[in-house]
Amino acid sequence: MVFNVIFFSLLAIIILAAAIYAVVQKDLLYAVIATGVISLVLSIYFFIMQAPDVALTEAAIGIALTTIIFVITIRNTSRREDEIPVDKEPDRGDEK
């Protein structure tokens, strides 16, 4: 029982820390990796909670595919949250 409490609170704290880090972090690449960590710990949770189907889905989609899709999107846009790249600035009526 004590082991359960310690283990689960450790996992919960990892999830919470990763989530807060993903929100606070300005570098979007690190934030995406943090969301991948959330999915990893979540799939461990699902497995322990006797839901191996959901754990498989979460492992394949949450860790691998979603993270990589976000990374590709970051490659195509900007890496930092507050940065507006000069060559991708939207046109504001130059060609009217």
Binding site: V5, D53, L56, A60, I61, A64, L65, D87
Partner: protein, 239 residues
């Protein structure tokens, strides 16, 4: 001050969560009282194994009892993939290679990817073919196969999967799903009714139409997710 507040928040929320989880009794059935036959969960648990000969009750619920919902889910995924492709897909000029990955990856990644790629494909196929016997199913197997293709996309910068092949696989899998449903209608029952004989429990060919539908869903999901990755990787922003 801000950091202290964050740590305080972490401790409080973690403590509340730990308290909640410590009161859950692990290993016991939490689906309500199985002996009360009027609840839906009890009906599924008591009748699936005998009536459908399906060992994995979750698969029976997803494909058989709630098959129409699964058709809707597959449709949503199809719409998302085709919407993304219609926004991002651009027909290439002759001799144009606009691959986003510009640098070659390391020798270690290339060799490892070539070695492990067939194993990932076989694992994904195993997961969706055995969907009615072991945990997993069409969605999970399809996602595993798509992550295998993702590994190859990352390792080799000129690795391509033909869009035509993906479209064909996806269309044929969708047609198989819907025609299995219509087969139920033709034979006088409802849409997606389990019309085949269910066979014996724990056989590979058992459970009626459930393996057919899950194999179709596996191919469809794998083709869709691979198509999404291929479209995203080949998209280049206009400079």
């Amino acid at each position: 001050m801000k950091k202290a507040f964050i740590i305080l928040l972490l401790v409080v929320v973690g403590w509340v969560l730990a308290d909640t989880f410590s009161q859950i009794t692990f290993g016991e059935s939490r689906l309500g009282d199985v002996k009360q036959p009027e609840t839906v969960g009890a009906y599924y648990l008591n009748n699936t194994v005998e009536k459908l000969s399906v060992a994995n009750v979750i698969t029976a619920i997803v494909v058989n009892y709630r098959g129409f919902d699964t058709l809707g889910e597959v449709t949503v995924l199809f719409l998302a993939a085709s919407g993304l492709a219609s926004i991002l897909y651009r027909r290439k000029e002759k001799g144009e290679h606009d691959v986003m990955i510009l640098k070659n990856s390391s020798q270690l990644l290339q060799t490892g990817a070539k070695l492990i790629f067939p194993a990932i494909l076989v694992l994904g196929a195993y997961v969706f073919i055995h969907g009615h016997l072991t945990p997993g199913g069409g969605f999970q197997g399809g996602a595993i196969i798509a992550s295998g293709f993702l590994l190859m996309f990352m390792a080799y910068k000129d690795y391509h999967v033909s869009h035509n092949v993906l479209t064909w696989v996806e269309s044929v899998a969708g047609i198989v799903f819907v025609s299995v449903g219509i087969w139920g209608l033709i034979s006088g029952a409802t849409f997606l009714e389990n019309v085949l004989g269910t066979g014996t429990l724990n056989d590979l060919i058992s459970g009626g139409v459930i393996p057919l539908i899950y194999i179709a869903v596996g191919f469809k999901v794998a083709a869709e997710l691979t198509g999404v990755l291929e479209t995203l990787l080949n998209f280049k922003t206009e400079k």
